[in-house]
């Protein structure tokens, strides 16, 4: 997860959205995708391997402003850790290969996010042949190879630009640090628990500003066996603990249940990604189906309160069905995005909140 709090001056209107439209080129399974009229909650559906997670990653990667996010995404995809201890150009290119459409590293990845002027960014990743140079491969001086560093270029709507390069030297992989082009984005990945320390830090940050009560009241309402939440230290690490009426002492929320912990993490994430965007992969994971209507309601409530934009993927027809009551009357705040894969190339189809609601009511399977 990644989150940096940044409050933009043009985000005061109720209809403020960080990302109103986006273009993705040559990233993962997308050769070219354009989406406009994005909404407060954008629900992403699609078959396996059609690009749901890749779409969320494209926003997270472009918004995060940091080349190292690529390594984090590798870990989410269960790819092996990058261990480059010598300057080997082939291994270097292997690290980035999966980011490129059709694994074709001669292409330029370009992800443009467009919103307010402060939130309009273009992120490009490419090999610049002009920067090719010789690097030592082994222990002997004569063992050399040519290497083209990978360029990460961020630019904004006013022409400001940041160009950093990932490369290798005799000690291994060298990654550039963060750029000033970060946006306020977080991502919650299916099957990977949010870092308890990070959740605690976010909860603590809210608490310092006396903004944690809404979250605590919400959690205790949805899960009545929880009386209160607080940040405590366990084995030297900060974690969010819950007071449970039937237990003699406070327990880490992650010990109570996966669903409680996931909801806590997501809501804390939305609250602390104010004016930004939160990506939630496979919303249904960990939640009992009877809780889903309430969870959709909460997502909208928190997203509205903190002006956070959500991109939520799901495989679950049940999760979609339970979104209906929340969408009804709030159609203008929802969009449905369906990723589709044809002949190895993925595309994204856009449907309005109105169509989304009618599909649920008419029992049409939108996935």
């Amino acid at each position: 997860m990644q989150s940096v709090v940044e409050v933009h001056p043009n985000c005061k209107g109720d209809d403020y959205l960080m990302i109103q439209s986006l273009t993705v080129e040559n990233f993962r399974c997308f050769e070219h995708v354009e989406l406009s009229d994005l909404k407060r909650i954008n629900v992403v559906v699609g078959q396996n391997a059609s690009g749901k997670t890749a779409l969320l990653e494209s926003i997270f990667f472009a918004g995060g402003g940091h080349s190292q996010l690529a390594l984090r995404m590798r870990a989410w995809r269960l790819l092996p850790d990058v261990q480059i201890t010598t300057a080997n150009p082939e291994t270097f290119e292997e690290v980035w290969r999966d980011l490129f459409f059709n694994f074709d590293q001669s292409r330029t990845i370009a992800i443009s996010l467009r919103g307010t002027p402060q939130n309009t960014r273009t992120f490009r990743i490419f090999y610049d042949a002009k920067t090719e140079h010789v690097v030592p491969v082994g222990q002997k001086l004569e063992e050399v190879a040519t290497l083209t560093p990978l360029s990460f270029e961020y630019s904004d709507s006013e022409g400001h630009r940041s160009l950093t390069k990932a490369e290798i030297n005799e000690r291994g992989l060298v990654l550039p640090g963060p750029t000033p082009f970060f946006m306020n984005v977080s991502m919650y990945v299916a099957g990977i628990k949010a870092n308890p320390k990070e959740a605690a830090e976010r909860f603590s940050a809210l608490s310092k500003k006396n903004q944690e009560r809404h979250l605590v009241e919400t959690l205790t309402r949805i899960f009545p066996f929880i009386d209160d939440l607080s940040v405590q230290t366990s084995a030297g690490e900060s974690m969010v603990f819950a007071s449970v009426s039937t237990l003699p002492e406070k327990v880490p929320v992650s010990l109570i249940s996966e669903g409680v912990y996931r909801l806590l993490s997501v809501l804390v994430g939305i609250a602390s990604t104010k004016n930004g965007a939160v990506m939630i992969d496979e919303l249904e994971n960990g939640f009992y189906h009877e809780k889903l209507p309430e969870i959709w309601k909460l997502l909208l409530e928190f997203a509205e309160e903190y002006k956070t934009q959500l991109f939520v993927s799901t495989h679950s027809l049940e999760a979609l069905k339970h979104a209906g009551p929340t969408i009804k009357g709030n159609e203008s705040k929802f969009a449905l995005l369906r990723t589709e894969r044809t002949n190895g190339n993925s595309s994204v189809r856009y449907f309005s909140g109105h169509q989304f609601l009618k599909a649920i009511e008419q029992k049409v399977d939108v996935r």
Binding site: L336, R338, E340, R349, F351, S352, H354, Q355, F356, K358, A359, E361, Q362, K363, V364, D365, V366, R367
Partner: protein, 220 residues
Amino acid sequence: MIPAILSEPYLVIGEGPADTESISHLAMARNIAGYQVGYPELPVAAHGRTGFGDLLAALATDSDLRNVRAIAIAYDNDSNPDGAFHHVQQSIRGSQSGYSVPAAPLEAGPAVNNVPAIVALPIPWVNEIGCLESLILPAVTEKWPEVRRLADGLIAATRPNDLGTCKGDKAILAALVACVCRDPTCSVRSMWSRREFRDLLGHTCFDRVAEFLRDLPAML
């Protein structure tokens, strides 16, 4: 209620299950291939023409819609054929899904914006007052003329003034079916599954609708 998988190139949507069952059985009886049928889901208030817009909006999100070349909307003319067609046009626009709106009944608009062409199919036929029961009655009357005479008499004696063409035809057909069917509660929806009525679908009163179904592919 639409099929879970839209696999055929043509989809007829009707006001309710009676319409779609009738058209489905007619296509089968006349060996017309390539059709599936559906109608707007509950709530009941959405049945009839008012549900078309919602169903069209929902259909636009169905990934199987790419398999469908045209959607025929079968609607009752009731007492006002022009008004009924106008209402269908409004429903298509109200779906906010990019369908092209046909200019006249039985005319196909083009397939645009990733959605299929739409054709409006008035029941009983263009510029004719009536409904599904009006379409069916000639066939039932020809098979059971004496029962029809008695049903007419019964309706005339009990409800001489309060039924227009559509409701009158519904009442007469219900009375006829109740009298001639082994199951007196048989509905229009289920009558085509019964032996007593199956052969009626060969009657000439269904020829125009059958021809429309046969000719639709060539219209596009």
